[in-house]
């Protein structure tokens, strides 16, 4: 590092002075060595004060956080700032909502009113039982015990009352009722009385009081579904002893005339065919839990899916006690 000679001169002088000073200071240093503890304490005290100051500050700023009277800031923003940001978000979200509605509207426009675009997930309809319960357990001598079940069945069969069904058309047995092009779709008749003992007409307890309960099995509605073959329901008890069962209508057939279904708009009064199965429990079957599996058979529709235990089949348990 070069510096001018004059500077160097000056520096030399200063250096000499500096050295003298240093000597003096060095002595001081030595004296200082012991009092340093003192000094440390001083520093500590100062530091404590500092900390106290700091502690006081946040209190102020904590209140300031909510409302700062000096700047008129509320939660860190002035009124106009709040106004602007809120206005921005209002407009922004308004726009987003508009855009979302627009895309939704466009999407809905592309949909058909009567048939969903994709039906691949319901290609194989499910089976369900009424009364709605996985385990039907009741005391046959206590009506309050099974009242909810028979109420459930009565509700289901409301739409199948003969008085209502009489208004519907009689259709060709064993043939699909195809009416793709007709503007008004006719509905095929399914009278409640066809279920006989299980119609709830003669025996309003659906056999529950006798300990021979009726279970109604229905197949899920699927638009346009035309089961091939001759679909019928077959129930088997999963116990050791074979269980006697009586099907209504006989042979437990789901007649082809009830297919296809045209959707709830075009086919508002449509009723799906039902099959009732009466479990003719004997004395020794009482108080024993019976597991019954009903399957849809005689068609191309699947009833053996690993995952979906209700596709084309249904399992339920019945336990009748005395």
């Amino acid at each position: 590092m070069s510096s001018s000679p004059q500077e160097q001169n000056r520096e030399q002088k200063e250096e000499q002075k500096e050295e003298q000073k240093e000597d003096v200071k060095e002595e001081e240093v030595k004296k200082d060595m012991k009092p340093e503890d003192n000094q440390n304490q001083n520093e500590e005290r100062k530091a404590e004060k500092w900390e106290e100051n700091k502690k006081e500050e946040p209190k102020e700023s904590w209140k300031d956080c909510i409302y700062n009277p000096r700047t008129g800031e509320f939660m860190g923003r002035t009124a106009s700032s709040w106004g602007l940001i809120l206005l921005f978000y209002l407009v922004f979200y308004g726009f987003l909502a508009g855009m979302f509605c627009l895309t939704m509207w466009v999407m809905l426009q592309t949909l058909d009113d009567n048939v969903p675009r994709y039906q691949d997930r319901v290609a194989n309809p499910g089976l369900v039982i009424r009364p709605h319960a996985a385990e039907i357990s009741f005391n046959r001598s206590d009506p309050t015990n099974y009242n909810q079940y028979i109420q459930n069945l009565h509700n289901l069969l409301q739409r199948y009352n003969d008085s209502i069904q009489e208004r519907n058309d009689l259709c060709m047995v064993g043939e699909y009722t195809e009416q793709d092009n007709e503007p008004i779709k006719k509905v095929c008749q399914f009278k409640r009385s066809m279920l006989r003992q299980c119609s709830g007409l003669r025996d309003s307890s659906f056999g529950f009081a006798e300990g021979k309960p009726c279970i109604i099995i229905k197949m899920n509605r699927v638009i346009g579904l035309k089961p091939q073959g001759d679909p019928y329901i077959n129930c088997t008890a999963k116990g050791d002893s074979p269980l006697r069962m009586q099907y209504y209508p006989s042979e437990a057939r789901l007649d082809k005339m009830f297919f296809p279904y045209y959707g709830n708009k075009a086919h508002a009064d449509y009723v799906q065919p039902l099959v009732a199965v009466q479990l003719l429990l004997s004395r020794e079957d009482l108080n024993v839990e019976q597991t019954v599996e009903c399957k849809l058979e005689g068609t191309n529709l699947r009833n053996d899916d690993d995952r979906d235990k209700f596709m084309g089949r249904v399992v339920f348990r019945v336990k009748v006690s005395e």
Binding site: S3, P5, E18, A47, V122, G126, Y261, Y270
Partner: protein
């Protein structure tokens, strides 16, 4: 932060610690040799007896520094496992398990989601913890390789015989001998010396070797001549001395112990991550509690509401971010390691970038290390050098004979040359082999006079005396250009006053004139003026040797100089500067062991004390008033003597640091360096300390980032530092600053990107609770996003190049410029995230509607939908669905929502590339990012279409059209953000910037 730490440390410090902070308690230097001998029961001639030595060795232990207590490996591992960000994930995992426990206790068939989520969160933390642990273990392995490379030997005299023993076996009282080149094995009291000089630089920072002699010259043991210190080097001569301290009791040992006892604070990035966690936790708890209350109002049971609360809080945890941040930091650390910057602590990668104060005694750190010629003086005038490539800025007559002579001298008397194969590069950018000032001259001459190599070819070099520090000049003898002229040309350059002394004439307007007083005066003025600019000045002279004395073929002997080196003709001066680095934090504090005068001169030289800034003393001298009358506020620069530091109170210290921008601390002891660092930290600065000596190590440890030298640095300093420059090249620090700033920017981008997808991940759950729709996005798919598709794009943002010249920026203000601030949250959560959520919901509604469930049917359907026993749920068309059938549709929706998030994240990663510039300005050159885009898409397609995924992850193949649902939203994100950035650039400081620039 610093304020409350330092007092705590002092309070908490044990008695030992305070003791260590005191100055050295050595008294032996004031005793006579006989007293010392008596004290150690030793003999000045015979040395210790072997028996005594063995006894002392048992009493005092080996003469070696106790290695700093190494943290056990499992503690290090746990620190990785439970530190910083991991806490957030652990909390999330525990909450998940808690929620699962509640569900398991109350429900028959609890959904496994919370359990899986908890397990995955745990796995993520553990895996990332292991990753960073191994990463750091790798660096520490390199560290270990530094240790104990060569076992030290010492020559001791015991029972009158000289024996060479391991330095560890040296004991107090041993008589030892050292010679030039030896490392001093312990603190010794010199009893006899022959021209002995020691290099104390690693201890005191003084660079000049100091002589040692048996006499006590100073009360201070560090200053006195008769003590030589452990681990310093004997440069020349020989000495014999009695060992007075060994091992940890040596001066060096005390410093090392002080260092290892210091606690260090959190790294800035750790603080930022903590701040980030606070924000995230705040948002999570706010959302959770809000929806908890809503759920209660909506009539959910307490337990359900608690599970929702936990679910929402956990959904806010960005699972992938921990891994992303770790990988980003690792990548940067690797990049720096390639440039010979070894980072010991991953988090320290960023610290250099936010450093606001550098404490350094190495001036190379602070300048660009790119010397350029700034001025020249010839023809009695100062000319500004033209540094433009096309020589458009010429300020003087280039045809002047004096200039040509000066250029010839500068070009010939110069050993620097351009490295080969750079002809296509602009001259100023070419690499030069040679020292800094010669390179500067070479470039200057090449620029103004054309090829220097051609000039050298025309004037063949005959002899040369390279520069050395004793004669302070460099000369060479050349043949002349004129083939008929058989005279030799002698050219010389060097320190101006030395050159002037050798000159009797001076070249003015091309004519040689005798050097008279007037011209000498002019020379002095020019010299002073250029020197005053802080420039390095060189003088040039030449002479044509008379042919009669030096005929052609004369054998010039450079060893025993047999030719004239005086009576030369002075040509001119050239001055060079090493421009300070633009990016160097404006607060540079020079901390050195040198004398104040030297320190100040150097500081001025490299621009630490810049031109025009005066110290109090300068002002006093200029105004001719006593120092006490000067208002200290007027002086921006200040030079503080180390010993004055002791007398300063904390307030005074703060005052100095606050009110002066240019500070030089001279003659500082290790303890004082520590005080300086603490002072700066107290004022909120992020302090970097560079150093290589043991004396620097306490400061290195205390600093936010300590940078040590890999080659010249002492072991202790390397242990204390966070970063090690493996090649000792200070230019690497600049790399560190650059990489640190870049990673900070890019981490912001990564976090913005990752956080954005949190909104489309949380909102489905919220709507699930509030409007009772089937769940649009499940836990598994959320994890697929966070830990799958989002990872590579988020990491790829770490490869993003800087948007603008980050080195021209001010270092960030840790109080204001946060890694994650409310604006980032506002953008990510409030704006982009919302658009993304809409995109996802749109896909969800499309799929359900196309399968028969119109939006109007969905609201309120949740209870029936999720009821396993309802197997005839009616859709909008009157069809009936079994539980499993509709669940397949629901999971298809999850998949579509997931794919939609991937689609909108395409746009998000592109907009996150830049914070201010348009993507069109920035370009798409980030290959990793492009790879990331393809990778996430491929992964999404794989997850959706791979056979078996329906069983494994419950993800189902999508119809091709469903991929396009989110496209309009993706496009909207891009357009929206481009417009936002456009407004940002158009109105600097405007509303958009204040509200949205993160």
């Amino acid at each position: 932060m610093g304020a409350d730490r330092s007092p705590k440390k002092k309070k908490g410090g044990t008695k030992d610690m305070d003791d260590l902070k005191k100055e050295v308690p050595i008294t032996e230097h004031k005793m006579s040799i006989e007293e010392v001998c008596r004290k150690f029961n030793t003999d000045i001639v015979q040395g210790l007896t072997n028996a005594k030595a063995a006894e002392y060795l048992i009493r005092d232990g080996p003469n070696a520094l106790t290695p700093p207590p190494t943290t056990p490996e499992w503690v290090k591992f746990c620190r990785q496992l439970f530190g910083g960000f991991s806490i957030l994930l652990w909390t999330g995992a525990i909450l998940c398990f808690l929620a699962y426990a509640i569900q398991a206790a109350t429900e028959d068939e609890p959904a496994g989601d919370n359990l899986y989520l908890g397990i995955v969160l745990t796995a993520v933390v553990v895996i990332t913890g292991c990753f960073s642990y191994f990463q750091e273990a790798k660096s520490s392995k390199i560290m270990e390789s530094f240790k104990n490379m060569v076992p030290q030997q010492a020559l001791v005299i015991r029972e009158g015989e000289k024996v060479t023993i391991n330095a560890e076996e040296v004991v107090g009282g041993d008589l030892i001998e050292v010679k030039g080149g030896d490392r001093i094995p312990a603190d010794i009291r010199v009893v006899s010396a022959h021209g002995c000089k020691v290099d104390n630089s690693s201890l005191t920072g003084e660079s000049e070797p100091q002589s040692r002699s048996p006499d006590c010259t100073h009360d201070n043991p560090l200053e006195t001549r008769n003590v030589a210190f452990f681990s310093t080097n004997c440069v020349e001569g020989t000495a014999r001395g009695i060992v007075i301290c060994t091992g940890d009791r040596t001066v060096m040992g005390r410093i090392a112990t002080l260092t290892s006892g210091l606690e260090t604070g959190k790294t800035p990035i750790a603080k930022e991550i903590e701040h980030f966690i606070h924000i995230i936790t705040g948002v999570a708890v706010f959302l959770g509690v809000t929806f908890f209350i809503l759920a209660i109002i909506l009539g959910y049971s307490w337990l359900e509401a608690v599970i929702f609360l936990i679910g929402i809080i956990v959904a806010n945890v960005p699972e992938g971010l921990l891994a992303t941040v770790t990988v980003c930091l690792t990548l940067t650390a690797k990049r720096m390691a390639k440039k010979n910057c070894l980072v010991k602590n991953l988090e320290a990668v960023e610290t250099l970038g936010s450093t606001s104060t550098i404490c350094s005694d190495k001036t190379g750190t602070l300048t660009q290390n790119r010397m350029t010629v700034a001025h020249m003086w010839f023809d009695n005038q100062i000319h500004e050098a033209d540094t433009t490539e096309d020589q458009s800025g010429a300020s003087f007559d280039k045809s002047s004979v004096t200039w040509l002579s000066l250029a010839r001298v500068a070009g010939l008397c110069n050993r620097a040359q351009f490295k080969a194969g750079q002809d296509s590069l602009p001259i100023l950018k070419r690499d030069v082999a040679g020292d800094a000032s010669e390179s500067a001259l070479l470039k200057c001459i090449e620029l103004s006079c054309g090829s220097v190599r051609a000039m050298r070819d025309r004037n063949k070099k005959v002899a040369e005396i390279p520069f050395n520090s004793t004669n302070k000049y460099q000369l060479s003898v050349h043949e002349t250009e004129d083939p008929n002229d058989n005279r030799y040309l002698l050219v010389m350059k060097g320190a101006p006053e030395r050159i002037l002394d050798r000159c009797t004439t001076i070249l003015v307007q091309g004519k040689e004139q005798p050097m008279d007083e007037e011209l000498k005066e002019a020379f002095q003025n020019a010299y002073m003026e250029l020197g005053g600019l802080g420039e390095r000045v060189l003088g040039f002279c030449h002479v044509l040797l008379p042919e009669d004395q030096y005929p052609k073929g004369f054998a010039f002997d450079t060893e025993d100089v047999n030719f004239q080196t005086d009576n030369l003709c002075f040509v001119g001066l050239m001055s060079m500067i090493d421009p300070p680095r633009a990016a160097v934090p404006d607060a540079v504090i020079m901390v050195t062991g040198d004398h104040p005068i030297t320190a100040k001169a150097i500081a001025k030289g490299v621009g630490i004390i810049s031109e025009g800034n005066e110290t109090v003393e300068d002002i006093a001298a200029r105004l001719n008033i006593p120092v006490s009358q000067v208002n200290p506020r007027d002086a921006k620069a200040c030079v503080v003597h180390g010993t004055d530091l002791k007398d300063l109170s904390q307030d005074q210290m703060d005052d100095i640091l606050r009110n002066h921008t240019e500070i030089v601390f001279a003659r500082t002891s290790p303890q004082q360096k520590l005080i300086i660092v603490e002072g700066c930290q107290r004022l909120g600065a992020i302090v970097a300390v560079t150093g290589d000596g043991v004396n620097d190590s306490p400061a290195l440890k205390k600093a936010d980032i300590g940078v040590a030298m890999g080659i010249s640095g002492s072991d202790v300093s390397k242990q204390a530092a966070d970063m090690i420059l493996l090649d000792d090249n200070f230019a690497s620090i600049v790399t560190g600053v650059e990489e640190g700033r870049l990673i900070f920017d890019n981490l912001k981008k990564s976090i913005a990107y990752t956080l954005t997808s949190n909104i489309p991940e949380i909102t489905p759950f919220l709507f699930f609770i509030i409007v009772n729709i089937p769940l649009p996005l499940g836990t598994i798919t959320i994890l697929c996003i966070d830990l799958g598709t989002d990872m590579v794009p988020a990491i790829s943002l770490a490869y993003e190049t800087a948007e603008s010249d980050i080195m021209k920026r001010q270092p960030r203000n840790p109080a204001r410029d946060k890694l994650v601030n409310e604006r980032l949250i506002s953008i990510a959560y409030g704006q982009i995230g919302m658009i993304q959520a809409l995109g996802g919901f749109f896909a969800y509604f499309v799929i359900l509607a196309e399968n028969g469930f119109l939006p109007s049917r969905l609201v309120g359907i949740r209870l029936n939908w999720d009821d396993r026993s309802t197997n005839d749920l009616e859709d909008s068309y009157g069809q009936q669905w079994t539980y499993e059938q509709r669940k397949i549709v629901e999971f298809t929706c999850h998949t579509a929502f997931f794919v939609s998030i991937v689609v909108v994240q395409w746009a998000d990663v592109i907009i996150c590339k830049t914070r201010r510039n348009s993507v069109f300005q920035q370009g798409m050159r980030n290959k990793i990012l492009i790879f990331g885009l393809f990778e996430e898409t491929a992964l999404a397609a794989f997850l959706s279409y791979c056979p078996g995924m329906d069983v494994a992850l419950r993800m189902y193949p999508l119809k091709p059209s469903w991929w396009f649902c989110a496209f309009p939203y993706s496009f909207l994100i891009f357009v929206y953000d481009e417009i936002r950035k456009l407004l940002l650039r158009r109105n600097p400081g405007g509303w958009v910037e204040r509200e949205t620039y993160y």
